[in-house]
Amino acid sequence: MSLKTFKGGVHPYDGKELSKDKETTKLLPEGDLYFPVSQHIGAPAKPIVQKGDTVLAGQMIAEAGGFVSSPIFSSVSGTVKGIEKCRTSVGDMVDAIVIENDGNYTEAAFDEVEDVTKLSKEEIVEKIKNAGVVGMGGAGFPTHVKLSPKEPDKIEYIIANCAECEPYLTSDYRRMMEEPEKLVAGMKIILQLFDNAKGCFGVEDNKPDAIAKLTELVKDEPRMEVVPLMTKYPQGGERQLIKAVTDREINAKMLPADAGCIVDNVETIVAIYHAVKLGRPLTDRIFTVTGDAVSDPRNFRIKIGTSFSQLLEAAGGLKNPAEKLIAGGPMMGFALFDTNIPTTKTTSALLCMTVDEASKYEETACINCGRCVEACPESLIPSRLADFSQQKRMEEFEKWYGLECIECGSCSFGCPARRPLAQAIKTMKKDALAAKRKK
């Protein structure tokens, strides 16, 4: 039997056994919390609180700065200390609202809905929008925008991205094991928006227990289906997932909706459930602290805004000195030079590596072996694109489909000459997109 998948991809060591069987534990934040106003793609949120204001947990502290934007909520009760610049996990300095945590976690009032099926489509989208739900897999695209396609009748598939193909990460897996009902309930809410759609849970086959759990839960749901997928990186890439589940292909210029699909990550769908059914805004998520340098790798239910350093401490700190700390997974995560940064809606893991082999390798000459070509899930020729990038040949770069790159890093991963292919391609892609915007 051949499992559903896409062409290309790589098989990195997945490291999930470190934390996959560790049940999530609740972690309450300490000290001041920083809430960057930009935790999503689109316009930054606009702060609506002032220094000295008292806020409740779940209270909005910054409103959406436009349609493609999302509000920010405080995850604790306390006093606003002001707005300061703060470093985020991707390295940018951004404005952040600082809140002094009073340690009481007094919550704002949330209106729970008795019967979700009685809500209109507009009400559902409105609730999702007002709860600040964004794509929590990393991209941070505002979910209400995704759920408002031009032609809702043409949406045939709602795909729950349960692949979690990035090595080491186990937050989605824990959610599927501990609260699969919420995931299914969230999917039900989304299906209410799209009359012609089917809900598909795409799960990699290295999580057989999650597949079994979900299959059991959806057996009486005629509009839902669990789709086991081959375990291969980047199976959870949006375009790769759509290909595997529906056999449809989209390119960089298209939206999933162009192929009749909407893709949402596990945490996002659970956040949709919280927002619509319980009326709760997005203030917490599951977060994995893992890696061979961590004393006690585990999964936490965190209040968004908790600092990386506190999470590391809660996992017993480092047992070995680490050479590299990464926000996210090893394939697409961001290397950190400091843990004094806040978690946001989109940060899912802290990975601590004792030895950083990757940055010690010496780059040698390309031998044209074609391993990058075989690995590329987008059928590109990464070695040539990297050459074009180094030679600043933007025209050829675009002609050889450089802008289709999804930045998954599979090419660099497999390169025997240790070339930083993905890095070079990302650089030129950024320049090329910037040049396009100028025009």
């Binding site: 896409f6 790589v10 990195p12 060591y13 375009r239 290909k243 449809r248 292909e249 989209i250 390119n251 960089a252 210029k253 298209m254 162009d258 680490a322 050479e323 590299k324 700390l325 990464i326 090893p330 394939m331 697409m332 995560g333 290397a335 950190l336 400091d338 843990t339 990975l351 950083d356 082999e357 990757a358 940055s359 390798y361 040698t364 000459a365 031998i367 044209n368 072996c369 074609g370 070509v373 987008e378 059928s379 590109l380 020729i381 070695s383 040539r384 002609k399 489909y401 289709e404 660099s412 991963f413 497999g414 390169c415 025997p416 000459a417 240790r418 930083p420 993905a422 890095q423 990302k426």
Partner: protein, 320 residues
Amino acid sequence: MDNILHVTSAPHVREKTDTQRIMLYVIISLLPASIFGIYNFGWRALVMIIISIGSCVLSEFCYEKLLHKKITIKDLSAVVTGLLLALNVPHTLPFWMVALGGVFAIIVVKMLFGGLGQNFMNPALGARCFLVISFTGAMTSFTYDGVTGATPLALLKNGESVDVMSMLIGRTGGTIGETSAIALLLGAIILILLGVIDLRIPGTYIITFAIFTLLFGGHGFDLNFLVAEIVGGGLLLGAFFMATDYVTSPITPLGKIIFGIILGVLTGIFRFFGPSAEGVSYAIIFSNLLVPLIEKWTVPRAFGIVKEKKEKKEKGGEKA
């Protein structure tokens, strides 16, 4: 945090295989043919291999030392070139000639064009052709069991019959590494299993050549002749170990197939319509020159691009 953290761009993990390991795999896969060559032709074959490898590695070392470049001999690519060159010459060749060939392969074909990854022609084959042109007599006289005689392919060309079984085993005259089809195929299987090569180039090469032989070989559907043509001469050695040289073959998947077809046709033309019974070396180095062009024509469509065009047409149609 008292230690200094590394900050680099993703991905933060890499696969273990590096260039050196790939070259090592190629060397391992050439061992069956090398060992059989030594067994078949005696000590001279062993010395030939050692001198050829020594000449290649030393040439690379001296060139880089003299020009104050980074010494790259530990990537083992010069060892592969030296070994391939030795397998491509008769065991009776004067040793100084193979040494000269090694210098030519590394200095002229490889280093002058920028070193590993930049040469447009397979160094070992470039050197072999250089030796054939310079020392035709020494390069084309083959002695087997003390008797100088024609190779099986030359016999076939003259319309004589050959013993296919001894060609499979390799008990015939020829260059050091080309005679034993079984040893070469064993090496090819190792290469494929280790993931160094796939069948795109050698497969299309051999199939195309087989079809060409059936059509234009002049023997119709003569299975004995067909098999002898495939296992004879340098075809297997060339198809699996030299046409697949990464640097001098196309990187695009479709390009590899076109490359294999061109190789098959050219080898057929050279063998059946040329003056020599051999044709593999020239077919490969000539096709090497076409690689940039083949790649340019065969840039694969990126994922999802085809559908977009179709959809545009559909949408256009709706509007009209």
